[in-house]
Amino acid sequence: MKMTPTRRGVTSVIALSAAVLLAATGCARDGGGGRGGETSPGITDDSITLGITTPLSGPTAGPGTCTVAGLEAYMGAVNEAGGIEFGDGKTRTVEIKALDDAYDPQKASSNYQTLKNEAFAITSGLGTPTNLAWREAATADEVPQVFVMTGDPIFSQQSESPWSLGWVPAYPNEGAAFGEMLAKSSEDHKVAILFQNDDFGEGYVEGFKEAIKGSENIEVVGELSYEATDASVDAQLTELAATDADILFNAMSITPLVISSLERAQSIGWEPSWFLPSNTSSPTAILEPGGADAYPGVYSVAFSKAPASPKFADDEDVKTFLSDLKTYADYPEVPAFPHCMWSYMLGATLEEVFKDMQEPTRENFMEAVRSIEDFKAPLMLDGTSVNTTVDGEPAVSSVVVQKYNGKGFDTVEGIE
């Protein structure tokens, strides 16, 4: 009595498998495989889908969420106005499909497998290892990996990455901008370096050192690293303070660590001029709580206007940006991470690209992506622009050096 139902179960499993096998012999893979073909996936006559794989959970989720929010804000407003008229004459709305990769390369490459059949192009994702994980696959599959938020220069080298393009300035560029300014100074400077032990920190330091090479007036007197997961960098600051450097080049991307190190250095009586990267120099979220006015100067590099800065409070771009962010991306606060502004500017750039696209194919899209010249996206600072025509450079490669004035930032020419 017990055996009968089970045996029937096994028999049906075997029968089912046999049926599947029979079907298999007559079933060609291309039928349901979605291997691309004539028309690129993710685009129809009235809509286009953009994919994003970015950290939406875990320690980098703060900036990660921003990489989606800014793009959603821009495209939300565009869709509200009826969509974008593409170069082929058709008007399409823009859909965004964002997936969480938790800054894990394995999940990012898994997300890529999902997105490459659903999205026309994959964009805006944050993180070096997570973008590297599927760069070669994207090249092989001819899937656009454009305007990704990593400063690793490899994404912008066409011979290496024909289907990829970086968005933000390469990390070494940002470090170099500060180094060049320092090298021009007429005075002698002793520099202490503190850097995050990953490609971000290393890139900054590399660019900085390259720029000060051969400058007699600059001496690097100390160089220490820390881990992104560290709870405190007090020991490093103590060690660096002992060098009596008058400049602290701090390549740090972790918000609370920047705040606490700003507090820390002044509390142990060390008051150098600071250099901070573009993504950790928010006036309201970092500099003010860290008590940055105690220092002779806090310098940073930027290419976007800081909405938190009073100088831009009445700026039209900033006002539109903040209201779009609230309306279309459910992001009510003034963002503490510049990634929100960056992905918004990225949206504007993509709109330009779409307007140039003559055919709804990925090939044609990549051509259009690589032909943007001197485009000034909303929120962009004077002296910077989007330029995708130079091989080896990301879409935004120009930055301006700024100095904190107690409220916001002023663009400066040299160290004061």
Binding site: T6, D100, Y103, Q106, P129, T130, L132, A133, A140, N197
Partner: protein, 349 residues
């Protein structure tokens, strides 16, 4: 079902069907499905390794991801330096095993939580170490290699070829581990897990059995690292981040500790839950993953592999015997002990 499975004819029939499916399915399924199955194979093997030391051996290990990472680095290094593929595979298996052996020789003296803390150190120290040894590891940029792309002569797509590779490795590994845990070693290991004093009195050295199980777990971890590299084709310090170790542990328990089926289910859990939560709401993945984990364990404290026995137990809840006869050696005693009070739980006292 399990009674029936004891019949040789049925077993062979089922085996033939499974092999046929394994050969044919990769040819038919869409690419994304092949890729997902391949990832499941990778992490099923990683969970299997963890099961050897923890499920069967009873030693908490929070370092399994380190051996996966080491295996993937060795594979990537071999592939980028044009080593022979078989040699690369062997290196990805032997080097983690040696690392595991050395660590176990020292750590197996400790028990309980202490061994957990020593193993926690592996991924935590391994990550900055991988960054520092950039000559071999590529530093924070990591290493990528498309060594597992399908060769021309096969006429296969890459994903099909990769799935075949990992399927073969996974099946062979599972069969070998199955023989190990059900053989003499496995029985001795179960006694060590149960009671070290008893084991010693029977002439079984708890120390050496712990060392052995840890070494095998590390080796299996290395194998999963080779598979990881075959499927993902990229590795970086983030591959061996500590929280993956915790997720592997959760996958093992959710699947069902000390069962082979549980290792497979654990692999499915590891790969599929992030996909599922992304599909529900990409902004709430952490919360959903926590909720799913707790829900499964709340309903099935013995893991998903205990579901059939649980159902059987419910069906015959009026009877005196709990569930169907367990398939695992280690479970036998535990089930007898636990009696009818908690039919789903095994290996606890």
């Amino acid at each position: 079902m399990s009674n029936l499975l004891k019949k040789p004819a049925v077993r062979w029939g089922a085996l033939v069907v499974l092999v046929a499916l394994a050969v044919v399915l990769p040819l038919m399924l869409p690419e994304v499905a092949n890729d997902t199955i391949a990832r499941i194979c990778v992490f099923a093997v990683a969970v299997l390794g963890l099961n050897v030391v923890m499920g069967y051996g009873g030693q908490v290990s929070l370092g399994q991801i380190f051996f996966l990472g080491l295996g993937s680095y060795v594979t990537a290094y071999g592939a980028t330096n044009d080593w022979n593929i078989v040699l690369t595979f062997l290196a990805a298996l032997v080097l983690p095993a040696i690392a595991g052996l050395v660590i176990a020789l020292a750590a197996a003296r400790l028990g309980g939580l202490a061994i957990a803390m020593v193993t926690i150190a592996l991924p935590i120290v391994g990550l900055p170490l991988a960054r520092r040894l950039d000559h071999w590891t590529g530093g924070s940029q990591g290493l990528s290699s498309r060594f597992s792309d399908a060769p021309e002569w096969t006429g296969l797509y890459h994903d099909q070829w990769q799935l075949y590779i990992v399927l073969v490795i996974a099946v062979v590994t599972f069969v070998l581990v199955r023989n190990f845990v059900r053989g003499k070693f496995g029985r001795a290991l179960a006694i060590v897990k149960e009671n070290e004093a008893v084991a010693s009195s029977m002439g079984i050295s708890p120390y050496w059995y712990k060392v052995l199980s840890f070494t095998i777990a590390s080796m299996v971890g290395g194998i999963s690292g080779f598979m990881y590299m075959s499927v993902v084709q990229y590795t970086s310090p983030e591959t061996l981040a500590f929280h993956h170790s915790i997720t592997l542990l959760a996958a093992m328990v959710v699947g069902g500790s000390a069962t082979l089926a549980g290792s497979v289910i654990g692999g499915v859990y590891f790969v599929f839950v992030p996909v599922l939560t992304n599909a529900i709401n990409p902004n709430l993945t952490a919360m959903l993953q926590g909720a799913i984990l707790l829900l499964v364990l709340f309903l099935l404290p013995g893991g998903l592999a205990s579901l059939p026995r649980r159902i059987a137990g419910l069906r015959r809840s009026s009877g005196s015997r709990p569930g169907a006869p367990p398939r695992e050696e280690a479970a036998t005693r535990a089930v007898q002990k636990a009696a009818s009070k908690q039919p789903t739980r095994k290996a606890d006292q």
